[in-house]
Amino acid sequence: MKIPETDEKYQGKINETDLGRGYVAGGADGMPFLSSENTGKRRVMIAGEVVDDLSDYPELAAAMFDGRQRDPVEWARMWMSLGMDMICLRLKGTDPDKGKRTPKEAADLVKNVIDAVPLPVIVFGCGTPDTDREVMREISAAVKDTRLILAKADEDDYKTISSAAIAGGHNVIAFSNLDVNLAKQMNIILTDFGVDRNNVLMDPLMAPLGMGLDYSYSVNERIRLAALSGDKMLQIPMICDATGAWDVGDAVSDDDGLGSAVSRVTWWETITAMAAMTSGADIIIMRGPAAADMVLGYAEELRCG
């Protein structure tokens, strides 16, 4: 018997944002992975995480990189050889408490990574606002002819990073904390400040599995549904960070009854990423190489078209 026609005809379409280096994110005009209504043929993109200081980096993860994690450039090359689309470079070493890397050295490191791999690079500071402002300014001034993705602008602190992005022709990540209205608000704040809408990615905070994933899943879905229904200020590609899975006690604990921690955390991060992309993420940041490889494979299989 005939079955009903259930495809949705949405008004809206997610912006196609140029990430530089020949990569573009976004373009969906239907809900994720439904080929009959979503003509956006782009696969969800995976960014491999690289950090320049390992003092807070989990040993369990470090062990998976076989020494290459000690050199950010080598590490980035490894991600590329694993087939990842982007590099996510966290400049933890610029933290004044760790006191090693000056803004100038940080900018040099970014340049070295760019020279080593032809992929788009997301750059995070260390999380200390004063330092991050200086670092972003320096990097933006030093890297002129390659478009970077600078992270991240939040409600309290967006001017310096936005100015740096505008000056250097870079993209900027608009961060908001698990709330559809705040996510929209951030996109408005940035565009009002003068950042081109085509240069914004949004991060609505991906809470990991078992630590609020349910909130993120629904916030993402609501953002995507609103965007498709025509809300221009939410038609921005979504980036989700799945590495929070490594902070979940049950994912990494030593407990024989729960099975191998390596396998468990790999699933923890993979499921976090699968929930992110099923609810609307266009780009996912991953830490574990095994998890990243699985998620890349699933993303390839799920792409529309």
Partner: protein
């Protein structure tokens, strides 16, 4: 959704004959809309009207019970609209060729506790691999003797006919009717009042199967779209569920399931099924390191989106705290609890963590709502006995530093203001030492 009085009125004879005890048909329609009367109270209502009414008032997805496991019953497509009702059930396979007691033991061991909730395997699927009715019957009896939860019988119609006599009293789920054996399988389900899985990879043929089963009087149906990969799973499940909820397409108004194997891809399929409308996943096998994250996903997806999950008020030792370890406290909003807990664990310094019941509100919200006052905190610290177990300093969440003087006075011991951000706790603890 309940129809309005006008919608009911349209279906009535409109003769105002008063046989229902109401002065007019409209008055009766208003009672119907308020669920104070039944359609049957009007002796003149037509068969067609009754049918029309049934199909609009029936829930879009039927709830199918297999033992104590309910499947389906969903009314929405997205979990933010209303809570998903019946969580995905997970089953593992017991082959009639294996050592049954040993296998049942292994299945029972797949059990974990997480935030006060016990997770374990919901069902087993007894599968005929031997091709021998005698062997299968023995296996099914052995399972029934040591497994009191629901189970599934997985075999062809010929063997099922023989084994069902022994098992029908437990109402197992029968797996499965396909195009070729549909008549026989539907008859067995009907004769033994057992729920039945219908399986087809072609959605139109699956609808035909559902129509045939319903026509034969079998309504406890579970649909298997035969999805072989993630893409088929999300696409077919979406078509089925949207048809049921948006289009009221009766043939798809049933729970969905997936039959997967074991290992990485099977778990990925279960993840997709859990997020996208699956009510049951049958595995060949499931490992403990796969089960815990999967069960956790199910818990997350099936949480009420309106009510934040809460942790129980109480004392949570982290590491092995002693008589001098610092005492932290925070709210019982689970996201807060997990975050704080994870950050304390990161420091590797033992801490007593007191959870205060704030009705699931986060620190600042609870404080401004008066549910996280110094008095309330002092009360719970006293009640848990932590103050007698440790003479350590009490650490106040940075966001509610304002309560410090009051809390110091109430407790009569040193307090210190902790960090505003949970992620700064490790550094704070290292410096506290």
């Amino acid at each position: 959704m309940m129809p309005t009085a006008i919608e009911f009125f349209k279906l009535l004879p409109k003769t105002n004959c008063k046989d229902c005890g109401q002065p007019t048909c409209l008055a009766f329609a208003m009672l119907l809309a308020n669920q104070k009367a039944k359609m049957d109270d009007c002796p003149h209502v037509s068969r067609e009207s009754k049918d029309a009414m049934e199909s609009t008032t029936a829930p879009p997805v039927r709830t199918v019970a297999v033992g104590n496991v309910n499947m389906g019953g969903e009314t929405v497509l997205h979990r933010h609209e209303r809570r998903f009702i019946n969580p995905t059930a997970y089953a593992v396979t017991i082959s009639d060729r294996c050592d049954i007691p040993e296998r049942i033991d292994a299945v029972k061991k797949l059990s974990f506790e997480r935030v006060g909730t016990v997770f374990d395997v919901d069902m087993v699927s007894v599968r005929c691999d031997s091709g021998d009715a005698g062997v299968f019957i023995k296996a099914v009896n052995a399972v029934m003797g040591s497994w009191d939860r629901p189970f599934i019988l997985e075999c062809g119609a010929g063997i099922l006919k023989e084994v069902i006599k022994e098992a029908a009293h437990r109402r197992p789920l029968l797996y499965c009717a396909v195009h070729e054996n549909a008549g026989e399988m539907i008859a067995i389900a009907k004769d033994n009042s057992c729920p039945l899985v219908l399986r087809d990879t072609d959605m139109e043929r699956l609808a035909d199967l559902a129509a045939a089963a319903a026509a034969a009087g079998v309504n406890d149906i579970v649909l298997d779209t035969g999805s072989a990969n993630l893409k088929e799973c999300i696409e077919r499940h979406t078509v089925v569920r949207r048809s049921a909820i948006r289009k009221r397409f009766k043939q798809f108004g049933y729970p969905l399931m997936n039959r997967v194997g074991s290992g990485e891809y099977a778990v990925a399929m279960a993840v997709m099924s859990t997020m996208k409308y699956g009510s049951l996943v049958i595995f060949d096998d499931l490992k403990n390191y796969e089960a815990l994250p999967l069960f956790t996903l199910r818990q997350n997806i099936y949480t009420d989106p309106q009510v934040p999950i809460q942790v129980k008020q109480g004392l949570y030792p982290i590491g092995e705290p002693d008589g001098h370890s610092p005492i932290f406290f925070t709210t019982n909003f689970s996201l807060t609890y997990f975050t704080v807990r994870a950050d304390i664990e990161k420091s590797k310094i033992p801490v007593w963590l007191q959870i205060v019941d704030t009705e699931g509100l986060s620190v600042l919200t609870a404080y401004s709502a008066g549910k996280f006052s110094a008095e309330h905190v002092a009360e719970s610290l006293n009640a848990s006995g932590v103050l007698t177990r440790s003479d350590g300093i009490v650490v106040i969440p940075g966001l509610v530093a304002r309560m410090s003087a009051k809390l110091h006075e109430l407790l009569g011991r040193d307090v210190i203001i902790g960090t505003t951000e949970s992620r700064d706790i490790p550094k704070f603890l290292r410096e506290l030492k």
